[in-house]
């Protein structure tokens, strides 16, 4: 199927995740997920999306625990964007 565009959209969203990371480890994790989205077959995108969401949720919790509301707001927005995309692309299940 011509589903390559899903890899593209996910790559773009992962660049947004990269932009809201607050540690080197998270930046590397986001980068590695982006590489997976760009190079792995489309069947792997579901796993990449799930891991990306987990990473972003982790970032949100970390920011909350540090009281960094500005970072949390940015991260939560990216997380929501990722979640919406995952649902609409059929990569995540609703609920």
């Amino acid at each position: 199927m011509t589903q390559q565009y899903l890899a593209g959209e996910l790559s773009v969203l992962l660049s947004h995740v990269q932009a809201v990371t607050t540690s080197e480890a998270a930046r590397c994790a986001a980068w590695s997920l982006r590489q997976a989205a760009e190079n792995e077959p489309v069947q792997a995108l579901r796993g990449v999306t799930v891991r990306a969401l987990a990473l972003t949720e982790g970032l949100c919790w970390d920011s909350l625990s540090h009281g960094d509301t500005a970072a949390f707001t940015r991260q939560a927005a990216v997380c929501a964007e990722l979640h919406e995309f995952g649902i609409c692309a059929g990569l995540l299940k609703e609920g």
Binding site: Q4, E38, E40, P41, Q43, A44, C88, G90
Partner: protein, 708 residues
């Protein structure tokens, strides 16, 4: 229930298709009468012209839509099967067919309408005459400033702007092979593709609008050049279009002697006319990269004559494009859909094609419908993902705008019937014919769809094979799976068609192995009938001949006749928060054929144990169903991996099956193999769960598991 009959497993009472997509067969929808009356293909005689006995000459009808510098002498050359050559002996130029001939006949006609993402910006109307001027000037720049000639590769990493179409057409004018990388991809991904194609030039843009922001794009060019260099490919020059000429949107400095702003040098070529280079029909027109299971992307090489004829023909009959239509395909030109059905197909037919810069829901879910109203769009083409998203953000939005589509397309993946119905009744206002389509990057154009005026629509099904394309479903042994049987199998195409890609750039063996080896009947045969094309998608065919696509079949584990995608199983395991990595493998089982075992590694700080195994097992059962429940969950400290990080599934499959793991010395972590083997095999021995000796065929299956 008959006396003595055992209760059936509920999963066995429904077809594989229903298991896979949870849909039932839907009713048919006839096309609106007003659409039928004006359709390009509204006479059933067209089916007669494309019957199998008329193959391959039936495709002359598509090729005749183009202007040829020299006619072909052989419609299909199969002498080097399966490297098919179409319209051999013919010569033409793709740019001439998309621009010059329309500029001559109708210079003021709008070729491209560019819709910038900022809604306050004016739409840009580019006439065919203006497009010809821009293409000529940029072709002159490519020829004289870069020094490129026919056959050279040039990598493009551009967003959705008209300059992208200009660049592609300028390359085509010179016979230069363009390789556009999706603009949203990282510079590193672009660099890999530069290296693979051996491209010495990169054409990019400084920035573009996406979701209200002017994104810095030029920064990726530096990453791309560095990534290309790491793989041994130097980039000599980088041409940078500016989103706003004269203003630089990037924070990245230009590299002296390498980077050049197009708007600063194009003036030198003002008014120049470059004669279109007459190219052999089989000369490559472009490369389009797609991901593969080995991690190395595949550069799909598409031809000039066959490809252009095919996308023009399918645009005419399946998209029902008329020269007077305003046509909007909301895909990105960075993908094959954009190449075929934004640029080459519509422009070859002399219509007006819309290029939209940004995300469809910016600033709100009504944006696409406002654009459609403002531009008088008649034909609308998008993906199920976009349809779902637009439905979610604004289910009531379409009815606020007074546009009228006559035709709509959905492409890319199966669409749920309820989403299809929203698309039909709300977006299409019940007035439009909808075509669902199935095809791939490798295919150039549609393979399955409905002729919109002659074949009814059926939600969730992509339709029968298109004109001149004869699909079939084979089981693993190459037997036909009959239509109406409810049984899924591998959808294949029995014959070549003009849009089929020619090869994988630089990897001809991979081309044959991936797409033709599986069902080839004789490797020395020159007869196309011996070379069915293996698409790699699972499908089921209804009694009416319509196909329903079920998804990729790579690495399917066949459990008691149910085809389970390993990636799906692995993704389900990854929904367990403690799981870092997962790999599903088949284990030979005398009763069920194959059973699934899953290997997982945990994130730091989490301990293995029965509870964790149950959690993984439960997640798979919840996400996919009981049929996918793994026989064993093996929690391992690490997975065997290649140096590039790919999990070596064949190694763990061999461990699970007590087979030879083969050479593991090239792995990044060969030491883990013995640890895993000891852990898994001793547990299996202790529980009397040792599989029998594998047959040669089973051993080969395990050995190849997880490969391309």
């Amino acid at each position: 229930m008959a006396e003595g009959q055992q209760p059936q497993d509920p999963a066995a009472q429904v077809s594989e298709a229903q298991i896979a997509v949870h849909w039932r067969e839907e009713e048919n929808y006839p096309p609106p009468a007003a659409f039928v009356a004006q359709a390009n293909a509204n006479d059933r005689a067209i089916f007669e012209r494309f019957t199998e006995d008329k193959f391959p000459d039936c495709f002359k009808e598509y090729a005749d839509l183009l202007e040829w510098d020299r006619p072909w002498h052989t419609t299909l050359d199969t002498s080097n099967a399966p490297f098919w050559k179409w319209f051999v002996g013919g010569r033409l130029n793709a740019c001439y067919n998309c621009v010059d001939r329309h500029a001559a006949a109708n210079p003021g006609k709008t070729a491209i309408i560019f819709v910038p993402e900022p809604e306050s910006d004016e739409h840009v109307h580019i006439s065919y005459a203006e497009l010809l001027r821009q293409v000529n000037e940029f072709a002159a720049l490519l020829r004289d400033f870069l020094g490129v000639t026919a056959g050279d590769r040039v990598t493009l990493h551009m967003p959705m702007v008209p300059e992208l179409a200009v660049t592609m057409l300028a390359c085509a004018r010179l016979g230069v092979i363009h390789s556009q990388v999706f603009g949203g991809f990282s510079g590193t991904a672009c660099g890999h593709r530069i290296a693979d194609s051996g491209s010495r030039f990169l054409i990019t843009m400084d920035g573009y609008y996406r979701a209200g922001q002017l994104a810095d794009h030029k920064v990726k060019a530096d990453e791309a050049v560095a990534a290309g260099r790491e793989e041994g490919q130097e980039v000599d020059k980088v041409l940078v279009w500016r989103r706003h000429p004269g203003q630089y949107a990037s924070a990245t400095p230009m590299a002296g002697g390498r980077d050049y702003f197009v708007d600063e040098i194009i003036g030198k070529y003002a008014g120049q006319v470059v004669e279109p280079v007459s190219m052999p029909a089989e000369a490559p027109l472009f490369l389009m990269y797609t991901s593969g299971t080995t991690g190395r992307p595949k550069g799909c090489q598409h031809s000039t004559g066959g490809y252009l004829a095919y996308v023009t023909g399918t645009s005419k009959y399946y998209q029902d494009i008329h020269a007077g239509d305003v046509y909007w395909c909301m895909a990105d030109i960075g993908w094959i859909t954009g190449h075929s059905y934004i640029v080459y197909g519509p422009l070859a037919l002399g219509t007006t094609t819309v290029i939209y810069e940004g995300v469809p829901n910016y600033p709100d879910g009504g944006r696409p419908w406002r654009v459609a109203e403002q531009l008088g769009v008649k034909i609308f083409h998008t993906s199920p993902t976009a349809i779902r998203m637009l439905r979610k953000v604004g289910p009531e939005e379409p009815k606020k705008y007074s546009y009228h589509f006559k035709h709509m397309t959905t492409v890319g993946e199966p669409i749920e019937p309820e989403v299809w119905r929203w698309y039909h009744s709300e977006v299409g206002k019940g007035e439009a014919a909808i075509v669902d389509t199935w095809w791939q990057t490798e295919n150039g154009g549609f393979l399955c769809s409905t002729l919109p005026a002659l074949q009814p629509m059926k939600p969730g099904s992509c339709g029968p094979g298109v004109l001149g394309v004869y699909p079939v479903i084979y089981d693993e042994d190459g037997n036909d799976v009959p239509k109406g049987s409810g049984t899924a199998g591998n959808i294949c195409i029995r014959n070549p068609w003009p849009g089929i890609f020619q090869t994988i750039w630089g990897q001809p063996e991979r081309f044959v192995d991936t797409y033709y080896r599986k069902y080839n009947r004789d490797p020395d045969s020159k007869d196309w009938r011996d070379w069915p094309y293996f698409a790699g998608d699972g499908a089921v065919q209804a009694a009416d001949g319509y196909f329903r696509i079920l998804g990729r079949v790579d690495d399917v584990i066949n459990v008691a006749g149910h085809r389970l995608g390993t990636k799906e199983i692995e993704s389900a395991a990854l929904t367990v928060p403690e799981v870092a990595e997962a790999a599903a493998v088949p284990v030979i089982d005398d009763i069920r054929g194959r059973v699934v075992e899953i290997y997982v590694s945990l994130k730091p700080g989490f301990e293995p144990g029965k509870q964790m195994e149950d959690k993984v097992s439960k997640a798979i059962e919840t996400e996919i169903g009981k049929i996918a429940r793994p026989k064993n969950v093996w929690i391992v400290p690490d997975m065997p991996k290649t140096r590039s990080g790919k999990i070596m599934r064949r190694v763990i499959a061999a461990v699970s099956n007590f087979a030879d793991v083969g050479d593991v010395t090239t792995l990044a972590n060969p030491e883990v193999v013995d640890d895993i083997r000891h852990h898994v095999q001793s547990a299996k021995v202790a529980s009397d769960d040792v599989p029998r000796q594998l047959t040669e065929a089973e051993f080969e299956e395990i050995k190849k598991y997880g490969g391309d």
